[in-house]
């Protein structure tokens, strides 16, 4: 008899706890405003990311197609996994007429980047920064190797 009462008691207790959980589920079912889910990618236009968000490394250019990278390789040395490679060329300085080194290609292997921000911190001239673009998937692995300086770009005047 005692066993039976206990058994039936457990059934009611279980039903009670089940209802407890289900009540919450039903609450959210009828209060869709309190749900936090975002409808990505439909909300691409309204998506807001933190200003420090690390998407990928980019090199901003101004309207004269000039960048601030002097080719000092601080970023290349700071990078933990060899993501950045800087190739040089010789250019003639317009004012003094002397030959000097300048960057030819700033090669960035996106596929190897861990987004640690060390290169950005290391750069003395703030020539590179993190963009907010995070949709990196691609069908071709080659497209992950990027050249950050635009073709024909030059060093900005006054940046040493």
């Amino acid at each position: 008899m005692k066993f039976l009462i206990e058994y039936i008691g457990t059934i009611f207790k279980s039903l009670g706890s089940l209802w407890n959980g289900m009540r919450l589920t039903l609450y959210y079912f009828f209060h869709p405003k309190e749900i936090h889910t975002q409808q990505y990618p439909d909300n691409r236009d309204t998506l807001t990311l933190g200003e420090r968000f690390r998407g990928e490394v980019v090199m901003p250019h101004d309207e004269n197609n000039e960048h601030k990278c002097t080719g000092c390789t601080s970023c290349e040395l700071a990078c933990p996994n060899g993501t950045i490679k800087i190739l040089y060329k010789n250019v003639v300085d317009e004012t003094t007429g002397k030959k000097k080194k300048a960057i030819d290609e700033f090669v960035y292997h996106l596929g190897m980047c861990t987004f640690c921000n060390l290169c950005i911190i290391a750069c003395p001239t703030d020539a590179i920064k993190m963009s907010h673009d995070f949709e990196h998937s691609t069908f071709d692995r080659k497209s992950l190797t990027k050249i950050l300086n635009k073709p024909g770009s030059k060093l900005m005047k006054g940046v040493e």
């Binding site: 457990t10 207790k13 279980s14 706890s17 089940l18 407890n20 959980g21 919450l24 589920t25 936090h36 990311l49 933190g50 200003e51 420090r52 968000f53 690390r54 700071a78 990078c79 933990p80 861990t114 987004f115 640690c116 921000n117 060390l118 911190i121 993190m130």
Partner: protein, 376 residues
């Protein structure tokens, strides 16, 4: 893929024995862990974890990178406690350099650690629910975790592998909205925590599946080197934050959560109450972040003196130890990580053998394993 040793194992098996592979792609192992289980009927008679499916030789990679760089590899060990891993590594370098970091950096580090712990426990809670057959907790847990991840996103720049520690402090100052957002999170979370208990803790099915299941004695806990909530569920006091306070934990008031039952339910309760303690720590510090620098001045190239250095932190899963041998150059001579999950996994045999196969999932869930941390 069956190797020779396994064939021997299989031939030695008793006729009624049944050998079962769980993993490496089983959802309840939360990663690429493979368990070889010997069953007699429904009873587990032997468990053998097989590792190596996600080995990336992080220790060796650390030896090839400089003292500034190796920190960021360790985010990929226990990715749910990425900040604590980074903190341990930054601390070991600071110990070598005998660098005192600014008060502000310390407080922000603790705040971030506790937020990471909360996020990690919330994820664990969500997945535990799912493992044991409840779907709603999964979404409820992720809902609150999302708020923390947004805070990380704003201040650190990324959501999971935050990479916020540098030798000498933290990478940038906190975002102006940081305090406001943390307050908003705390308010929401304190309102939601009873919901957690309502959904899972009080559920009779959940209690029946965890109470008295997977007993781990305090003696075994110590002999296997378990730490974190796994050990504290068996009544072994091992909180590094209490025993060897680092980065200013000595100045905050909080209790070490201990349960003595040693079963799955006890481990569950430890984590749930740890969340409350984390909230307490954050509440004490969030309005008292001291002014000043957030980073100590360091040289561009760090060189540690010859010698051995060790630092330990309490991650969300237990004690992480970082052992570093320096030969005086700019790269570590030897790195060794003592990861909490590896030791906790070794106790799985003690916990699950003798129990039913159905309870294995509950046992695994309450160990809260992160496999990349085991393999490194």
């Amino acid at each position: 893929m069956i190797d020779k040793e396994e064939i021997e194992d299989l031939t030695q098996a008793h006729e009624e024995d049944f050998i079962l592979n769980v993993g490496p792609q089983h959802p309840s192992t939360h990663g690429v862990l493979r368990l070889k289980i010997k069953l007699q009927g429904e009873t587990v008679t032997h468990i053998e974890p097989h590792l190596g499916y996600i080995h990336r030789s992080i220790e060796k990679m650390c030896e090839a990178s400089s003292y500034r760089n190796f920190i960021y590899l360790t985010s990929r060990m226990d990715y749910l406690s990425a900040h604590m891993n980074n903190q341990a590594c930054a601390m070991v370098v600071e110990k070598g350099l005998q660098l005192e970091i600014p008060k502000r950096a310390k407080v922000i580090r603790i705040l971030m650690s506790e937020l990471t712990r909360l996020a990690s426990h919330q994820l664990w809670w969500a997945c535990t629910g799912l493992d044991l057959g409840a779907t709603t907790p999964f979404f409820v847990g992720f809902r609150d975790r999302e708020v923390i991840l947004d805070i990380f996103d704003e201040t650190c720049g990324s959501r999971l592998t935050m990479d916020y520690n540098v030798p000498g402090g933290i990478m940038f100052d906190i975002h102006p909205n940081f305090q406001k957002n943390v307050h908003a999170f705390l308010k929401g979370f304190k309102k939601n925590l009873p919901e957690y208990h309502q959904l899972l803790t009080g559920n009779v099915i959940f209690q029946n599946r965890t109470k008295g299941v997977g007993y781990l004695s305090p003696e075994d806990t110590i002999s296997f080197g378990c730490s974190g909530p796994t050990a504290r569920g068996s009544g072994v006091s091992c909180d590094i934050r209490k025993w060897q306070p680092y980065d200013g934990y000595e100045d905050v008031q909080f209790n070490e959560v201990l349960e003595t039952a040693g079963d799955c339910y006890a481990r569950y309760l430890v984590r749930m109450r740890e969340m409350e303690e984390s909230v307490k720590i954050i509440e004490q510090l969030i309005d008292n972040i001291p002014e000043g620098d957030f980073q100590a001045k360091t040289k561009a190239v760090l060189k540690l003196p010859k010698g051995e250095f060790y630092s330990r932190v309490e991650t969300a899963r237990g004690e992480l130890g970082v052992y570093l041998v320096s030969d005086g150059t700019s790269k570590p001579y030897r790195m060794k990580f003592r990861s909490p999950n590896f030791s906790n996994l070794s106790a799985l045999r003690e916990i699950a053998v003798g129990g039913k196969i159905g309870d294995l999932v509950a046992n695994m869930a309450m160990l809260d394993l992160v496999i990349p941390d085991i393999d490194r």
